[in-house]
């Protein structure tokens, strides 16, 4: 069995990669790839593989379940970023309210810290917006519909400057 596993892995690597773009491979092959990408939180790759297998008529229920997996993970991460955004906003608010107090020389300058927090806040918002775009894209996908495979470069918006 181990030998067979290795053999199949080699076949997958050698034949799978060049053939996968044609969309002719079985749905389950793409689903395996989607789950592999999901393990590493690579949503772009996961969506690309989902799109490639979108037109398949068999394994629709599995396809749908895997799509929901990706969507769920996306939402969990969005929530995580929202939590961090809230925490950053609270910190910035606290720092702004305590602005009038004299800062002590052994502490960091409040302005430095403020800039740092604003930078983190910008990055967090950027990450959230990327994930929200992925979520929107995943929601629109339906099994049995064939769409052109596209990894849109405009998916990621411009990082907001602090």
């Amino acid at each position: 069995m181990i030998g067979l596993g290795i053999l199949f892995r080699i076949i997958r690597r050698v034949l799978g990669k060049p053939l996968e773009k044609s969309g002719t491979l079985p749905t389950r092959y793409y689903l395996h790839q989607v789950l592999r990408s999901l393990d590493q939180d690579e949503f772009g790759e996961a969506i690309r593989h989902l799109r490639l297998s979108e037109g398949a008529l068999v394994d629709r229920s599995r396809w749908e379940l895997v799509r929901q997996h990706v969507l769920f993970r996306c939402r969990v991460l969005i929530q995580k970023h929202e939590k961090r955004i809230r925490s950053m906003e609270n910190r910035i608010r606290k720092l702004n309210t305590g602005k009038r107090l004299p800062w002590r020389w052994w502490r960091e300058k409040p302005t430095d810290r403020l800039l740092q927090y604003q930078k983190i806040l910008g990055l967090e918002r950027h990450a959230r917006s990327i994930l929200e775009n992925y979520e929107k894209e995943l929601k629109q996908m339906r099994p049995g519909e064939i769409h052109p495979v596209s990894v849109s470069p405009e998916r990621s918006p411009v990082i907001p400057q602090p």
């Binding site: 067979l4 053999l7 199949f8 076949i11 997958r12 034949l15 799978g16 491979l25 079985p26 389950r28 092959y29 689903l31 395996h32 789950l35 999901l38 393990d39 394994d59 229920s61 599995r62 749908e64 379940l65 895997v66 929901q68 997996h69 969507l71 769920f72 993970r73 939402r75 969990v76 929530q79 995580k80 939590k83 929601k139």
Partner: protein
Amino acid sequence: MEDRKLSIPGALVGALVGLGAEIAISELTGFDIVGGLLEIIGAGFGLIRIDKRIYESTVKLLRKMDVQPDDDYQQVLRRIDELTLDLPELRESFFRLMEAGLRAKSA
């Protein structure tokens, strides 16, 4: 070396004999040879074990959730509920998994 010629009627006869043999074997023994062969070839592309892989992924999704040590069961359940409002299949598999976990814990 001898020149080999391909014969179309020969190929057709061969295919027919093969089909006849396949039908005869499946009728007599109940084994589906062509299906079995296709399954073996298909396994190369990861056709088998997909359900196991989906199950593993479901478990991973739950493990990767941002759960605080002081969160109780109801809180986690509510969060899953919120996140899977429009994902009925996933919600069902999550609850089945959690029920199985609770049953195993109480046993």
